[in-house]
Amino acid sequence: MGEEYDCIRYYCTAGSGMEPFLVEEVKSKLSATDVDHISGRVFFSTCAPLEHVTKLKSAERLFLLIRRDPPISLPKFAARTISKIQRSIIGDLNSWIHTLSIWSRLVEELKPVSGRGQKRKREEEDETRVNDKSLRNEETLLGQTSPTFRVNCRCSGAVMCSFTSQDFSRIIGTAIRRQLGWKVDLREPDLEVNVSINDDHCILGIPLLKCSLASRSYIKHSGLRSTVAWTMASLCSIQEGCVILDPMCGVGTVLLEAAQECSSTLFIGMDCSAAQLLKAAENVETAGLGGRVELLQSSAMEIPLPSNSVDGVICDVPFGRKFSCGTNVTVALPKLIREMERVLSVNGSLVLLLSLQLSALLKKLLSPDRCLLATDPLTNKNTSNIDSSDTHTNTCRPDTDTHSNKHSSEGDIQLSPCTLQLQSIYRVSLGNTDGLIHKYLKTMYGHTATKAHTHKDIDIQK
């Protein structure tokens, strides 16, 4: 029992849209093999120490895999159904015993050192209890402890016609108790057995931690979901010696997640709200990042930095109708983009998180080719003769604009964007709504976007 680790098979839950990022993360950080994903879950095997696995940034909860089976098919005769379900779910007892021994070992690692003495004592008590019981199955006497457990079952699909999730929990719980000899404790069990049953699969696992990996110990005030913030930072390709700006940092979540990954980089956070900045300052201090994260009170539409001065800009653009300083977002968006583009140096990345509405608006604003604007199906007009500034006006003319409409919209088109080249768009779930992450590269001024990178051609990646 030396320092070597066996290859262990885990799975993690992930927010919708995060799966590809988690796949990438387990491969690069944990040298994971046999990586596979379905909607909401990523399966992988790794020999990396548990401590590294718990530091994954794009995952939600972490589980040990007992087994992943094809979907359960219910037999025709109702009388046999329950025992059939029990047999298929328990299946090969060895998979359970094997996972239990891995779990016991890993749980030791997760405990602080002082807790270990207590665990050993409990093990001795449990063994006495096990020996006293009359058991059907001899395999439970392999010198293992008999943990207490509870079943957590999520079901959907065809099986729901006959049983509820609660029914399943009971059926499975009974089977585990009888065939494995584990004891049920609904209130404070040693471990939980997670069962996921639907038309595509039957997944059995044991969670390793009670709370999600997404709740970070180093963040005091939370804002944007940390997994999404980390993903945005990872898309920004942050190198050593860079200066990265978040012009609407709020409580600083994006900056904190970005700073975790890169130690020789300066992060500047701006927000117009002093209250948010106070929390951001506390977050920076809690995370011990005072040397590398600087905060300013400033408007993102008037950034007090010289042009071409930062290597990357990451921004979670507010989803509501107004920014916290009162400006309407649709009016402000062009100004915001123009400023972020200005301070970004050539070959720098701009990563934005946008609501569905703002994403659509931004696509119109940054269309690389005037003709594309003209063929916008909404306007339904002739292509070559169209004065594209008219179309532009229709979509984002400010209500209280003091300049003439044509002047302002033409000004916008000229500044926009041949310099911001769209690289990709990703759709992610933010809980009760979805967001779209847009990634842009700043190119040399006047460079026309290559044909491959029009908004129409980029597939929204899920």
């Binding site: 010696g241 020789s264 408007s299």
Partner: protein
């Protein structure tokens, strides 16, 4: 506000062509202890406006960058102290061209412009 931040900040008052460097008028300064990371300091140096930093440091730094600074730990430590350990807690920054003052409170400079300046 650290001097590293000050080195990048620019006044964007409307009509101002050279709003840099901002004049520092400090009423409260603190010196913190910040973990020394030589790589970080080495990487930041090329991005700095050295003369503006020297001016802000008020005598602690040589007027021109020394050669081969990446390997000179003593020099890097001096720069580290000036960039990251000296912090202006209260005071203001003044635009060199327009005279507009931006207050610094609790270490955070307020660069928000009013309606009339922007």
């Amino acid at each position: 506000m650290k001097l590293l931040t000050h080195n990048i900040l620019t006044s964007h008052v409307k009509g101002v062509t050279k709003g840099y460097p901002l004049l520092i008028k400090a009423t409260e300064v603190r010196v913190n202890e910040v973990e020394f990371n030589p790589q970080f300091v080495s990487r930041m140096i090329p991005k700095l406006e050295w003369s503006a930093l020297v001016q802000a440091a008020e005598g602690d730094l040589p007027s021109s960058l020394i050669q081969d600074y990446e390997n000179n730990e003593e020099f890097l430590r001096k720069v580290h102290r000036v960039l990251l350990e000296v912090e202006v807690i209260e005071g203001c920054l003044q635009c060199p061209e327009s005279g507009r003052e931006f207050p610094i409170s609790r270490g955070v400079p307020n660069m928000l412009l009013n309606e009339d300046d922007s």
